[in-house]
């Protein structure tokens, strides 16, 4: 099923246009009946955070996301998969990552998007550092066991 799936991956500091990405997924062809999007949003942790700073491994980040997307395209009959992951300093409310999965059927779109997010969390080379609301530099966010568990269920 990989042949028929259009995969688009971008790692960038700029914001993206979710509506334009949904339109592109519909226009990519393949008799699209369902489009699922996931947007990851920077939280303020009840006012504790001023920003998150996203560090990434250029080259490997794109390559690893593309590898995960190709796996999803093998497992589900998706017509297109889009992943845009931002880096740099992001303030609460700003979006960190967008996944768009399009398919003829809703279940495939939901599962492919959920799969992509679980593996982005555990294998795409990005790291988050906290900047605190009091102006100091906080800790690096620790990886969660729950994320490993989520990836393991696939």
């Amino acid at each position: 099923m990989t042949d028929a799936c259009v995969i688009r991956v971008a790692v960038q500091s700029a914001a993206y246009d979710t509506a334009a990405e949904i339109d592109a997924a519909k226009a990519a062809g393949g008799n699209v009946g369902a489009v699922v999007t996931f947007s990851g949003v920077c939280r303020d942790e009840s006012g504790r955070l001023a920003a998150l700073e996203l560090e990434h491994y250029p080259g490997m980040a794109e390559g690893e996301i593309r590898r995960i997307a190709a796996q999803a395209a093998e497992r589900w009959p998706v017509t297109s998969l889009t992943v845009i992951h931002r880096h740099g300093k992001l303030r609460p409310g700003e979006e960190i990552v967008l996944v768009v999965a399009a398919s003829i059927h809703r279940q495939a779109a939901f599962e492919a998007a959920s799969f992509l997010m679980d593996f982005l969390k555990t294998s795409a080379p990005f790291w988050k550092k906290e900047h605190l609301a009091d102006g100091t530099s906080g800790a690096w966010v620790e990886a969660k066991d729950a994320d490993d568990d989520a990836a393991a269920r696939w």
Binding site: G59, K121, T122, A124, F126, W127, K129, A143
Partner: protein, 83 residues
């Protein structure tokens, strides 16, 4: 061989990348971590718990038992927290 560090591994070692000449008995990624730990306090602090250090050879995740011969670049970093 080019080594690249990210996140708190980079901060503790104090540099983001370097070129090193490895002795012949450093054969695996695990050997590399052990060798680096002897290079100074920053390295020792960054790599004190090898279990949490992830290794990528030529931008692909590998096990610590992976041979490093012929690697173009090796990256060391903490568990990822993207997404």
């Amino acid at each position: 061989m080019k080594l690249i560090y990210f996140a708190w591994v980079r901060e503790r070692i104090g540099i983001s990348e370097e070129d090193v000449e490895l002795p012949g008995d450093v054969k695996t990624a695990g050997d590399l971590l052990a060798w680096l730990r002897e290079r100074g306090d920053g390295y020792a602090e960054a790599l004190q718990n090898p279990k949490v250090i992830r290794v990528a050879i030529n931008q692909e995740h590998v096990d610590h038992r992976e041979p490093i011969a012929g690697a173009r670049e090796i990256a060391l970093f903490p568990p990822m927290t993207g997404g």
